[in-house]
């Protein structure tokens, strides 16, 4: 049973991160390559507060949320300053930088969590406290319930944001930044807001991931993971609410489906990569706007 819960946890966590990313990519129309940076920073913040400073799980979650808010302003700054291609490369560079900091944040000897050894570098951090508390131990049911609880609260808030006039304004900016500007909309600030919310949700997903995996290393902030989140998002449909959630569930469950066909173990890992590529190609061809799109791309129309 615990394997199914393991998959469910992953689907929830990735879904939350992909949904956050959808605000930036699908709604306001800026392709961010730095969602894993937020994910990794959230995961590390939770782990460091929980392990090095021995905070109780809930307190570590709260403190990590504070770090997530602070970190989101960095992502917001990038979104405010750069647009289009420059934004893609800017976020990619930012992600590489954060991953590099996490990888090199150690001198090998000092105490974990001190300035000289903030992240333990490539060795990662072990024995990360589980949610809801260390005392209750790593009970799979409790962990899944807690993750689901946090995710659902954040999803409801996100849903409200997406359906609100603010969400509508974001999509309007995606359609025509020029028109939005000339109607008095603060396009650059709104892009920053969207990137901040995206980053916050990504960091919170990272926190939950750390409590689920119990061990983290710098790969939680790798650019591969950023691409993975984009894959989840594009699979499901970047500008819908359910799309990113569905896409993440699909990506998590795809190897299990392959297992049904007698493909398992180490083969899965390599097949999975090919599988992603095949599915992505098929999807981009059949549904350019994602699984939940109606098959048509919002965009220009030709003069009749």
């Amino acid at each position: 049973m615990s394997y199914e819960l393991h998959l469910l946890n992953l689907a929830l966590v990735y879904g939350l991160s992909a949904l956050g990313l959808s605000l930036c990519v699908g709604h306001v129309g800026q392709l961010s390559m730095a969602q894993a940076a937020s994910f990794g920073v959230g995961a590390y913040a939770y782990a460091i507060f929980g392990v090095a400073y021995s905070l109780p799980s809930w307190a570590a979650l709260g403190a990590a949320a504070g770090v997530a808010v602070a970190f989101s302003f960095l992502q917001g700054f990038i979104a405010r300053s750069l647009a289009e291609d420059e934004f893609v490369f800017g976020t990619l560079a930012f992600n590489v930088m954060i991953a590099g900091l996490l990888f090199n944040g150690t001198d090998g000897t000092s105490r974990l969590g001190s300035l000289r050894n903030l992240t333990n570098g490539p060795y990662g951090i072990t024995d990360v406290p589980p949610l809801p508390s260390r005392a209750l131990g790593a009970e799979p049911w409790l962990l899944t319930l807690t993750i689901a609880f946090v995710v659902v609260i954040l999803l409801i808030t996100s849903y409200a944001a997406i359906a609100s006039p603010w969400g509508r304004l974001l999509r309007a900016i995606r359609d025509s930044p020029t028109l939005a500007l000339s109607l008095g909309k603060k396009v650059f600030s709104e892009r920053a807001r969207a990137a901040e919310v995206a980053s916050f949700l990504g960091s919170m997903a990272g926190v939950l991931y750390a409590s689920h995996a119990r061990y983290i290393d710098p790969s939680v902030a790798s650019t591969d993971l950023s691409v993975f989140f984009l894959t989840c998002l594009l699979l499901g449909g970047a500008a819908s609410f359910w799309g990113p959630l569905l896409g993440s569930a699909g990506v998590v469950l795809l190897p299990e489906v392959l297992r049904l066909f007698g493909v398992g173990g180490a083969t899965v890992a390599s097949l999975r990569v090919i599988g992603y590529a095949a599915v992505l190609f098929a999807l981009l061809h059949l549904r350019p706007g994602g699984l939940l799109s109606r098959g048509e791309q919002p965009g220009r129309r030709g003069a009749v």
């Binding site: 944001a161 609100s164 500007l181 008095g184 807001r193 965009g299 009749v304």
Partner: protein
């Protein structure tokens, strides 16, 4: 304010003072002053490249000036001064100064209602308010009643369209929605770049009515740039003319009364083509079905030769509609024949399929039935480049020139010689630095002078052109017709 009460001119709502703008070594304005008063329609005139669009952009913050300032009179009577070097569109929009583009710019994935809501929303769409609502769990996502933009709809006659996606609007309707968006935000001054371009009669009427409301009832200051042949469509208005000439604004008293009012499109275009050239209308007005007409002009009688271009029962699928079909009252398709020496003018409403027809003839769009014959040879199976080799030349409204080539390079590529005969453009300028009208001029020049062309298909060639250029094109049309070429011109009516 006092002068207004005294019956003098009301104070200006928007003033541009000492505006200077250069592009590299090219000086557009040295030190330009302009003022717009409430309840006034101003027509901005000027040669192509004189800087009409640039001036609109400077006044709305879409481009930044090298020096100068903008003064905006606010509702409370105070004046707000904005440095024209640092002006940006949101700041000016919040002060009620808005630009409207020639090509309707809309939020394409939204409905008409949402487009209007986005324009009219004040602080409802702020992220902080949304967050506060979410924290209080106060029915998030519900649109507050105060946000309903119904009054706007009644004013602009858009009630029947509100539920539609803007992608499902006709060209004329999207122009109206686009103007409505600008008018919602532009509570002081509206600066419109060719608001009547490409509109048919009905669309022109609707937009004119809207302009009238804005100027007379709402007392907005409205500045309009319109190409030479469309000025006559403003005939019903009392407007002031400003002319941009050699980097300065000159005031002209009243519009020269051109043809009075809006006559029938057939008379209008007959007058335009016959005036000043030896071209004369020839044969009857040929109905093309669905309200479209074909007029023929020649300067020499036909020699009874085989037609250069003939269409036989042509039908075209465009999106969900089949053009030139029985459902549109056009029998079993569109047929016409154009002979050597013809200058044929196709007049039809927006949505009739003029641009689609031009594309089918050129080979950019497939036909579902019928045939296109060039010199008597079926050409529907030929790719566009092969049709070009047979002497067919097609110029789009938004013409395809290469932005990084200079004028001289473009001429060498498209015409084969660098002769600038009558073009009035510096040969070294890069195409992307040309104004909209200048580009149109260059594209037409290339089309008319290409040595091996025999049939020209021109889609709305007069957009963005000044008076002098229009007169010159008409002469060139005549010359081309005398050489035995044929021209098909598509125009909205």
């Amino acid at each position: 304010m006092s002068s207004f009460l005294n019956g003098g001119c009301p104070p200006a709502v928007l003033r541009g003072l000492g505006l200077k703008k250069t592009f590299g070594s090219h000086v557009v304005f040295e030190s330009l002053d302009i003022e717009l008063r409430p309840g006034e329609l101003v027509l901005l005139r000027g040669e192509n490249g004189a800087g009409k669009t640039t001036l609109i952009d400077l006044l709305t913050g879409n481009q930044r000036a090298d020096s100068g300032r903008l003064e905006i009179l606010q509702e409370d009577g105070t004046t707000r001064v904005v440095d024209a070097r640092r002006a940006d569109p949101p700041t000016l929009a919040r002060l009620g100064i808005v630009k409207c583009w020639q090509r309707p710019e809309l939020f394409w994935s939204h409905s008409v209602r949402d487009n209007l809501r986005i324009a009219s929303s004040g602080s409802e769409d702020s992220a902080l308010r949304v967050l506060a609502q979410a924290v209080r769990f106060s029915k998030p996502g519900r649109v507050p009643a105060t946000e309903e933009p119904d009054p706007y709809l009644a004013e602009f006659g858009l009630e029947s369209l509100v539920e539609r996606k803007v992608t499902a609007l006709s060209f004329g309707q999207s122009r109206r929605v686009s103007l409505a968006l600008s008018a919602i935000v532009g509570t002081r001054a509206l600066l419109l770049d060719e608001p009547l371009a490409s509109l048919d009669r009905e669309g022109t009427k609707a937009v004119n009515q809207l302009l009238g409301q804005l100027v007379e009832e709402k007392k907005r200051a409205v500045l309009v740039v319109e190409h030479a042949l469309n000025e006559r469509l403003l005939a019903g208005f009392d407007y002031r003319v400003l002319e941009l000439r050699s980097r300065r604004l000159e005031r002209k008293e009243g519009g020269e009364p051109t043809s009075s009012g809006v006559g029938s499109p057939v008379d209008l275009w007959t007058g335009t083509l016959e005036g000043g050239t030896g071209l004369r209308r020839y044969g009857p007005v040929e109905p093309m079905g669905d309200g479209g007409f074909l007029l023929r002009f020649r300067s020499a009688p036909p020699e009874g030769s085989r037609p250069l271009l003939s269409l036989e029962r042509l039908r075209v699928q465009r999106g969900a509609w089949e053009l030139f079909s029985p459902q549109r009252g056009q029998g079993d398709g569109l047929s016409m024949a154009i002979h050597s020496g013809d200058v044929a003018v196709l007049l039809a409403r927006n949505g009739w399929g003029k641009s689609s027809l031009a594309k089918v003839i050129a080979g950019d769009l497939p036909a579902t039935a019928g045939q296109v014959l060039l010199n008597g040879q079926p050409t529907l199976d030929l790719p566009s480049w092969a049709r070009r080799r047979q002497g067919l030349l097609y110029t789009e409204t938004a013409n395809a020139l290469f932005g990084n080539l200079s004028v001289a390079e473009t001429l060498r590529l498209k015409v084969g010689s660098e002769s600038l005969d009558g073009l009035r453009l510096a040969p070294h300028r890069e195409v992307r630095t040309l104004s909209g009208g200048e580009r149109q001029r260059l594209a037409l020049h290339c089309a008319l002078n290409a040595a091996d062309s025999r049939l020209l298909v021109l889609d709305e060639p007069f957009n963005g052109l000044d008076r002098e250029t229009v007169a010159r094109w008409l002469e060139l049309f005549e010359a081309a017709a005398l050489q035995g070429k044929a021209i098909l011109i598509c125009l909205p009516a």
